[in-house]
Amino acid sequence: MKPIEPSRKPFSTWFSADNIFTGLITAFLLVILVFFLLYPVVVICRLSFLKDGFFTLQNYLEYFSEPRIFRSFYNSMFVSLVTMVITTVLAFLFAYGLTRTTLPGKGFFYMVSTLPLIAPTIIQALALILLFGRNGVITRYLLDTSWNIYGATGIIVGEILYCFPNALFILYTTLSAVDTRLDEAAQSLGASALKTFFKVTLPSAKYGIASAAALTFNLTITDFGIPVVIGGDYSVLATEIVNKVFGMQRFDLGATISVILLIPSITAFAINYYLTRKSYAMISGQARPFIQPSRPLKKWAFTAYSVFICSCILLVFVTVFLGSFVKTWPYDFSLTLKHFDFPSLGASVPIWTAFWNRVLEPGSLRDMIAIKYAPIWTSLLVSLVVAVVGASMTLVAAYIIEKKKPRGEQLLYALSVLPAAIPGVVLGLGYVLAFNKPYFLIYGTIWIIIINVVIANFTLGVLSGTANLKQIDKSVEEAAVSLGAGPVTTFTKIVFPLSKVAFLSTTTFFFMRAMTTISAVLFLVSAQIKLAAIEIIFLDVDGRTASANAMCTVVVLIVGIFLLIMRLTTGSSGLSGMSSSK
């Protein structure tokens, strides 16, 4: 008896629901990433190399031949390298204390050290100015010296504080994963503690150390918030781009400097990415054995060190908080709320205006909340949308990449990882150049900002998503399919519930980034659309330092409240594993 052959076999296989589902989503993600990530960068490159439609290196010649401008390149490299070395050493020692000694209060130290992640980078600069600036409480009030921290020193100190948790996260993971029994074996063979450290501990963590260093370099060279506030005349690449564009309307020069900034930034990112993979590949997966009680001297030395670092970080927050509540820093320390009566005007999103008009009586309070606080409400709205959209999109992208592996998967992966290599300022400028067209309807609305922030932070979402999905046994999904579940049901009923923890922490991450990011959206705000983090800079530039502090305080409080809500409702702390690494 001859078996019955199905008639249209290739057709039915290819057009299965699963393939359509995967194909459509892959295509959608690719279009989004190409249009909102690749295209703006290409536009920048094109502008930097073209004059009147012809290829030219004139912009680059102009840049490199004018010493005053070229200095910004040198300056950027200098502060980034110095920050890189100091941060890596400090973070390594801190991570060593947390993972290899029996110092008390590890959880507390770790938590405090991650605090800088919840604030805009600018907070470091604001605090340093309050402490060591022209009117710094230490420089002016205590020491009465004319020295102040503006310039390279300020940038470096600020960047160290900001990069610390990011470097720490990598080093902490590395050191807690490397088998401590190696250390014990070396010591049992008669090696001294110091020798063990240099011959065993340090080499075994070398990839982690190098990748933390590369990440720090990348974060520093791409940062805009700290140098713009504390840099003074000391110009770096990121501030120079903004300078050329805002100050001189020279988009071509801005684009040129952007390309120049892209080179070290992409290099550092690539090194970090490559080494992180390598370092994680060495993780043995064995349970961490019991740590020998440390000798008292070692224990107290590391405790004192950890207390010092945490005090510095806390000092930043306390200073800015205080700075926003005292009358005239550093002369009159009586408390006031007047700095929270922001001078900035208007630019509300209609939804919010309508909302406040409904809930509040007309009067000065309503004016303050609805108009003066408008940037804060806009930021909050943007951040909530970014959190949901960003976390969902990256989870779906991660699912496609990790589990479906369609055609074009590698391109999708490459584009998903790329954003972390592109400095926010560069991407922002790219958006202006690419999308500032009358026919591009979402330009000038909050949607372009939302897209920008989602794209700029796509990398971490996708990486944490794929890391999580790798842990889901392939058989679990196959079990669902064999029981009759389609692709959508499998995703919503099985994959998503199993990714909930990762999803929530990615949500938190996107929210924090949207509330605190400055460089990426700097070019996208306007007289109609203002954001809280950007207002900090404008207030500071206007000389309203105290209000800048107050705005920063508000941002930190909103992020803090969000974290608290996430923690209370889901029981998981959003901060763990939320640095820009992974």
């Binding site: 078996p3 199905p6 679990v476 399919v481 029981l483 099985i494």
Partner: protein, 361 residues
């Protein structure tokens, strides 16, 4: 004729590696088939092609008279049980079992009844509200088993379902699978690398090596009548001798042995195998009236291993080690001990003879 499953020249290639090589098999409805073979021989690949999770390179899978090569996995309605259980960790036992029924859009009441029946089947009714992580490995696998059975699949496929379990639980669950199969009369394909497991539960065993089916047959046939040296070696325990045969005499180099079968050629290379339980042991000085004095070989007991009812002796002859099993009573009566000089007797008719090129003569 029921809903049979037929593999025709089924082949799977991964690049240059041929994981499954032109295999043919007809599985009847209600039959319990076991794929047996060492790790990497292609068992999982055959199973995954049948389930539809792996594409077919060449050949056909025919079910109920239809070629199903390109049918989507969910349309095949085959149940699968995985080595790793693969229960949905976010659902309770009950929800896990109901999942396949919900996917088939059955009415709530029918689902509830069916879940009850399934839970009774494995005696886990008290556990319905628990999550998989709260169950032991054996319990999880039992839930996985009924989860796959709940939608009444056409065929149930089990890929090494017992490998991750402790030895004791493995035996219990093995018996339970067999019982379920007999109760439900479901076609089942069970994959394992454990020959004892395969022989004890299957109606028919398929012995695989290097992507090919070496032998298909009832367990007793496979054991008594292995088709090639590989099967004789892999299934059960065998003693092997290499030598050259002329007529019914095999020259092992150090000695000659008589066998029951006449060869065709002269001086042809063969391997002989004999099961340990067919080797007879005589103490020196004991009367040993045997049919074939040529096959009486002196040796010494090197190791004695008690295996419950049987005793396994490792005996050295001519520098080689031979395994002989004798029953415990006999062992006691003869008061055999380590170090005893003894005679071994190999009955000529107990030898299986394989030509060097694998096949049996």
């Amino acid at each position: 004729m029921g809903r049979d499953l037929k593999l025709e020249n089924l082949t799977k290639r991964y690049g240059r590696l041929t994981a499954v090589d032109h295999v043919n098999l007809e599985i009847h409805e209600g039959e319990f088939i076991c794929f047996l073979g060492p790790s990497g021989c292609g068992k999982t690949t055959v199973l995954r092609m049948i389930t539809g999770f792996e594409t077919v390179t060449e050949g056909k899978i025919i079910f109920d008279g239809r070629v199903i090569n390109d049918l989507l996995p969910k349309k095949r309605e085959f149940g699968i049980v995985f080595q790793s259980y693969a229960l949905f960790p976010n659902m309770t036992v009950e929800e896990n079992i109901a999942f396949g029924l919900k996917m088939r859009k059955m009415p709530k009441k029918v689902i509830a009844e069916r879940v009850d029946v399934m839970l009774d089947l494995i005696g886990l009714s008290g556990w319905r509200k628990l999550y998989p992580a709260q169950l032991s490995g054996g319990q999880q696998q039992r839930v996985a088993l009924v989860r796959a059975l709940a939608p009444d699949p056409q065929v149930l496929l089990l890929d090494e379902p017992l490998s991750a379990l402790d030895a004791k639980i493995r035996l219990r669950l093995r018996a339970e699978i067999k019982r379920l199969q007999q109760e439900l009369k479901k076609t089942m394909i069970h994959v394992t690398h454990d020959q004892e497991e395969a022989l004890s539960i299957a109606d028919r065993v398929v012995v695989m090596e290097g992507g090919q089916f070496r032998q298909v047959g009832r367990p007793i046939e496979i054991y008594k009548n292995p088709s090639c040296r590989f099967v004789a070696d892999f299934v059960g325990t065998s003693n092997f001798f290499e030598g050259r045969r002329t007529d019914d005499i095999v020259d092992l180099g150090k000695r000659k042995i008589k066998i029951a079968q006449n060869g065709s050629g002269i001086n042809e290379a063969v391997s002989l195998s004999i099961r340990p339980e067919h080797v007879e042991v005589f103490k020196k000085g004991e009367p040993s009236a045997v049919d074939e004095p040529l096959n009486l070989v002196p040796g010494r007991i090197e190791v004695v291993v008690f295996q419950g009812a049987a005793v396994r002796l490792l005996i050295e002859i001519d520098g080689d080690e031979i395994i002989a099993d004798i029953n415990e009573k006999e062992f006691e009566q003869r008061s055999l001990k380590r170090g005893n000089e003894i005679f071994l007797y190999f009955p000529p008719e107990a030898f299986l003879v394989f030509a060097e090129g694998e096949g049996k003569t």
